[in-house]
Amino acid sequence: MVYFLQQTLNALQLGSLYALIALGYTMVYGILRLINFAHGDLFMVGAFAAFGIAAWLGWPFVPTLLLSMAAVAALGVLIERLAYKPLRQAPKMSAVITALGVGIFLEHLMLVFNPYPRHMPELMPVHLWTVGRLSLSSHQVLIIGLSLVLMLILDWVVMRTKLGLAMRAIAWNGRIVPLMGVPVNRVISATFAMGAALGAAAGTLYAMAYPVIDPYMGVLVGWKAFIAAVVGGIGNVRGAVLGGFILAGVEIGVAAFLPTTYRDFISFGLLLVLLVVRPHGLLGRPRLEKV
């Protein structure tokens, strides 16, 4: 029982990180119908930004997190302006390939400057509470709590503000909404900024929990978060969070009972089964195809 609870805590920690990244995928997809394959690498840049700030400026946790989020948000907007915006009218695949290219570019640019894995300095001391045989670290509380707060803020922005209304409107119909006076470009930039900032927050938290970071860390985590977004129904904000926790639960569950090398095998297998049974994700709605 204690073992089970312990693994649940681990799953919640991993799941909230997946969910934060998955939100970035799903928001961009909802608005532009573009799978932003560079998003996993924005997560990586977020971790490295936090590392740079913490190691060279020696700032504490809160300003480090905020500056990392701001920097990566700016990078996200820059990428959108330079690489994706000119392709908005082009065939869908061109933009997807460009996104793949941007991802590889970010990875290897980082690799030029960080050929060896970096060790993240400790941003805040770790407390360990033990209840019986159950142990709970302050990092776990921080990661789960902060992620929940960020997700609630995002949900509030999307559901309750004018910006969120504009985002949902563009997702609903991108052709009519500009005619109603919605500044589409600004809304898309805001979406990219928010998604990238969430990814950077996940990167910072990830680097605190697993302190060895390298330029390829965003690849597998990014793909997993993408799977989480798909499981929940891509384009659906709440689905992304749900998918993140489900995927983490499955992964931790597999790792707890089987050799860890089976983890990817089973989680991707489950994804395949789910896609065959329910091709539009758990919360996604199928779109009718018209001729």
Binding site: Y29, I35, A83, P86, L87, A90, P91, K92, M93, S94, A95, V96, I97, T98, L100, G101, V102, G103, I104, F105, E107, H108, L109, L111, V112, P115, V219, W223, F226, I227, V230, I234, P259, T261, Y262, D264, F265, F268, G269, L271, L272, L275, V276, P279, H280, E289, K290, V291
Partner: protein, 330 residues
């Protein structure tokens, strides 16, 4: 048009050259190796182009098929076939690898009946990851450490023959009834279903044939390198093949040859740049997509790759707005 027979002569001459060059040592072994990789990349690119270009799906798991072919053919040559006859049984091993990969392609084509676009991309992605993960867990082929013991059975003439066979079969498929079905699926799946195209059969054939040649390329690759491990066939490899496809251009075999050649040679030339190589490569891709989104040769074809009947009767598939080069006969 009268010069058609020249193609056969040139192909034969090419074969003789591919045999003579290594035999008499006319070229540096390094250049020979690059030429073999070039041929393998052409096979990979052309076969992926069948699904991604002609049929307009977005498959991201091509390296997975390649891995299946590489492992199956290596196990065949190392564990099953007698050592003495390895040279003669090598084509059997390569075809065996291709057949195993096409079985995997058959499996992947089943989800494609219900999903397409982004969701199918995820299915193929998951397939690639599953293959890699499964290979890491099979202890008898070395698990994550990889598999070795193959002799260097792939030679330049073999690569040449397989490139010619691949392009020839793909050309015949693309200009057949099935190939037109694929183009119809790309343009509008629902409409072509309503017009009586058996979309399932067309999709299965595209995936199976594409996977077969990816498996063949994998078998050749394993017997050049003489060592394979699951990490070679990860998502980066698939991305590399995608880049070659879109560099050359969608729905064009000539484009695939061009794309694979330019990419392979450029990557070799950039080798001196060290770590910057992989920075420049995606940058080139992004610039290409921004300024020429259809790739260098997208939706066009060399006249010598088009069957005579189609040169006379039909024009290559046109895409609206874009000026399509109509081969005016040669």
């Amino acid at each position: 048009m009268k010069m058609r027979w020249m193609i056969g002569v040139l192909l034969l001459a090419g074969f003789a050259l591919s045999w003579a060059v290594p035999h008499f040592g006319w070229l540096d072994p390094y250049i020979l190796l690059v030429l073999m990789y070039l041929g393998i990349n052409i096979i990979l690119t052309a076969s992926l182009n069948l699904v991604n270009g002609y049929m307009g799906e977005f498959s991201v798991g091509h390296a997975g098929f390649m891995a299946v072919g590489a492992y199956v053919s290596s196990v065949l040559t190392v564990n099953l076939f007698p050592v003495t006859g390895a040279v003669f049984l090598f084509p059997v091993a390569v075809v065996g690898g291709g057949l195993a990969a096409s079985l995997a392609g058959l499996l992947v084509s089943i989800p494609s009946f219900r999903t397409r676009g982004d969701y199918l991309a995820i299915v193929t992605l998951a397939f690639g990851m599953i293959v890699k993960s499964a290979l890491e867990n099979i202890e008898s082929v070395g698990g994550p450490r990889g598999f070795m013991g193959m002799e260097q059975l792939t030679t330049l003439p073999w690569v040449y023959v397989w490139v010619v066979v691949t392009i020839w079969i793909l050309r015949n498929l693309v200009f057949s009834k099935y190939g037109r079905g694929m183009a119809a699926i790309r343009e509008d799946e629902v409409a072509c279903d309503l017009c009586g195209v058996h979309t399932r059969r067309v999709k299965i054939s595209a995936f199976v044939v594409s996977a077969f040649f990816a498996g063949v390329a994998g078998g050749l690759y394993a017997h050049v390198l003489q060592f394979i491990n699951p990490r070679m066939f990860d998502i980066l490899k698939s991305t590399e093949i995608l880049i070659m496809v879109y560099l050359g251009g969608m729905a064009s075999l000539g484009g695939s040859i061009l794309g694979a050649s330019i990419y392979t040679i450029a990557m070799e030339l950039l080798r001196e740049q060290g770590a910057w190589r992989m920075v420049l490569m995606p940058l080139l891709l992004i610039l290409l997509m921004l300024f020429r989104p259809r790739g260098l040769f997208g939706l066009r074809e060399f006249p010598w790759l088009v069957p005579l009947r189609d040169l006379v009767l039909l024009r290559p598939v046109k895409k609206q707005k874009e000026k399509t080069h109509v081969p005016a006969g040669s």
